[in-house]
Amino acid sequence: MIRLKTKLALFNLLSKLVFSALFLLFLPWIVERVNLRQVDNDLIQKRENTIDLIGKIGIEPFIYSDTSGTFGSYNILKEEFISLERTGISEELNYIDITGRIIEGEEITYRVINYTFMVDGQKYLLEIGKSLASIQYARRNINRIILVFLGFIILITLVTDLQYTRIILFPLKKISGKLKEISSPLTFDMTPVKTNTSDFVSLDNALRDLMVQIDESFRKEKDITVNISHELLTPVSVLRSKLENMLLKENIDPDTANKVEESLKTLHRLQSLINSLLLIARIESHQYLRDESFSVQVLLQEIIEELNPIAEDKEVILTGEFMKDHQFIKANRALVFSMFYNVVNNAIRNTLANGKVVVRTLPEHGNFKISISDTGNGMSEAQVSTLFTRFKTKRGDDGDGTGIGLAIAKVIADFHKIKISVTSEPGKGTIFSFIFPESSL
């Protein structure tokens, strides 16, 4: 994955390189074209001048009729030359080309105009040449200048581009930062992002609208939770006080007392059901904080200590095997305690006399893992699959629990990003595994 900023910078660099390459390729060629055209015009002008001169003073001063009938002249620096000679060729010549001439033993490249004309029935060939050396020099120099200049420009624009894209993309960085935090409404940052880029403004506005909506529904959910709890728990509270007062009457007969206590028990089940649902709703709407740091091993030892009398009473052996401790950070200790307590308690309840429940901590693939195994009756696959579904679980036969304990454990695990898995073999036992998130290590 490449960041937008980098992509833009790369594209800028690439487009500049391509542009520069094209420039380097074509500019010298264009300059040469222009120069040649100028030279050609110059040569044509010189030809006209020469023809004019011949028309005025005749051809004789140029041609020595004696020997070869040739006229030649070049300037000292051999930049230009002119030659005039009689020729026997029949066709008319009028063209410009580039040829090499050897003058005084030195080969020089010339741009040459060739032109034939008739004077007194005699055909003459006029050649006027101009050296191309200066043009070639110019080309080389231009190449060099362009190269240095372009390199410089590319470097400067690259730096400024990077800075500029960084500045104009800064709001985007802030917006995406906000988006990352969208799942925790408590930490919403509602301040508008400072930018004059209209796209970012509308993006930020849309995001803030969304945050307001999430915040509102979060609050509504919280209100509903609070209201339901109030509505349900108040009548339970009234009933409970009435029943408790009845039980405290000195002249109550044992039979009535028994019935009142049974009513209280039923009421407690209702109460604990409401409280369990509230607990789940509160965890799911993130009303609990995860701001504690604690040793998981100490926590497990506490749980074992607390549940040991129960295990002993059932003649179940409850032990801990700790291979590795783990400092759990950003967690809610009471909730994590509840989760393991529920699972260990569940394991004890489902194990028969002389069975074993073992709580193990071990490293696995770099993650911290806890396993809670029992030698109980085990479960079928179908039972395992509905284990964490609310109200579907009824593992134990002692019916005091509401069958929601494992659902609570699952919600707490999700809240802490702990992965729970269950393997079970009917008749052999069950293993609950908890794999802690890497970020907590």
Binding site: V226, S229, H230, L233, T234, V236, S237, V238, L239, R240, S241, K242, E244, N245, L247, L248, P254, A257, N258, V260, E261, E262, L264, K265, L267, H268, Q271, S272, N275, S276, L278, L279, Q287, Y288, E306, P309, I310, D313, A334, L335, F337, S338, Y341, N342, N345, D398, D400, G401, T402, I404, G405, I408
Partner: protein, 225 residues
């Protein structure tokens, strides 16, 4: 002691009052926030039991008003809202304790007693139970000079029964007091029975403990003078 019960649920308010009257408290009732505000301004109370969910008043404002007026009453918040922030806010404002509805009346009483002990710096006296002596300073139980080795939970259980002596406590009331609310689902009447069984075994090893009674079909009771 004077107690004002601020509770819009009249049924609950009356039950609390009848329970506290039996414990020799003088009870006054207020069913609305305004009524409560007036009563707090006129009368002197030792305790104000305050429901935060009043229809006409923010319960927390009542605490502010009372503290501003220089009231020395101790506040115990009772609420069904159970939100952590309410609890924190209430305690920040100077409330002395916090009880989530539904609560056991005996729990309310023990909180009231705990607050007033704190307020007047009263230590619980050592309590004699047959051949045993419960030393509340050191949180230890002795039998004729020998310490009875109790776990923390066993001591807490016995202590709670002793504080509410001559009352039958149900298993759930005991469980709730000792394990709190968060483990509610795992409430298991067996828990208390197991701990009482272990407790009895340890006591009887030293001396018989007929004062720790099982009330069939109801719960447990410590009967002692």
């Amino acid at each position: 002691m004077n107690v004002l019960i601020v509770e819009d649920e009249t049924g609950l308010a009356k039950e609390i009052a009848s329970f506290l009257k039996a414990e020799n408290f003088l009870c006054d009732l207020a069913f609305t926030g305004i009524e409560a505000s007036e009563k707090i301004a006129v009368n002197l109370y030792d305790f104000i039991l305050l429901d935060l969910g009043l229809p006409d008043y923010n319960g927390l404002d009542l605490i502010r008003e009372a503290k501003k007026a220089g009231s020395e009453a101790s506040f115990i918040i009772i609420t069904a809202r159970g939100a952590v922030e309410d609890k924190v806010k209430g305690l920040d404002l100077g409330a002395d304790d916090y009880l989530a509805k539904p609560f056991a009346l005996v729990e309310l009483l023990s909180r009231i007693n705990a607050v007033s002990r704190r307020k007047f710096n009263v230590k619980i006296q050592d309590i004699v139970l047959g051949d045993f002596i419960m030393q509340n300073q050191s949180r230890k139980l002795f039998c004729e000079g020998n310490e009875v080795d109790l776990t923390k939970k066993e001591y807490d259980l016995l202590h709670y029964l002793v504080l509410n002596r001559n009352k039958v406590l149900t298993r759930h009331q005991l469980y709730e007091h000792i394990w709190g609310n968060i483990l509610d689902d795992q409430y298991d009447s067996n828990f208390i029975d197991v701990h009482i069984k272990n407790l009895r075994k340890k006591l009887n090893f030293h001396s018989p403990s007929p004062w720790l009674e099982t009330v069939r079909g109801v719960g447990y009771r410590v009967s002692a003078g």
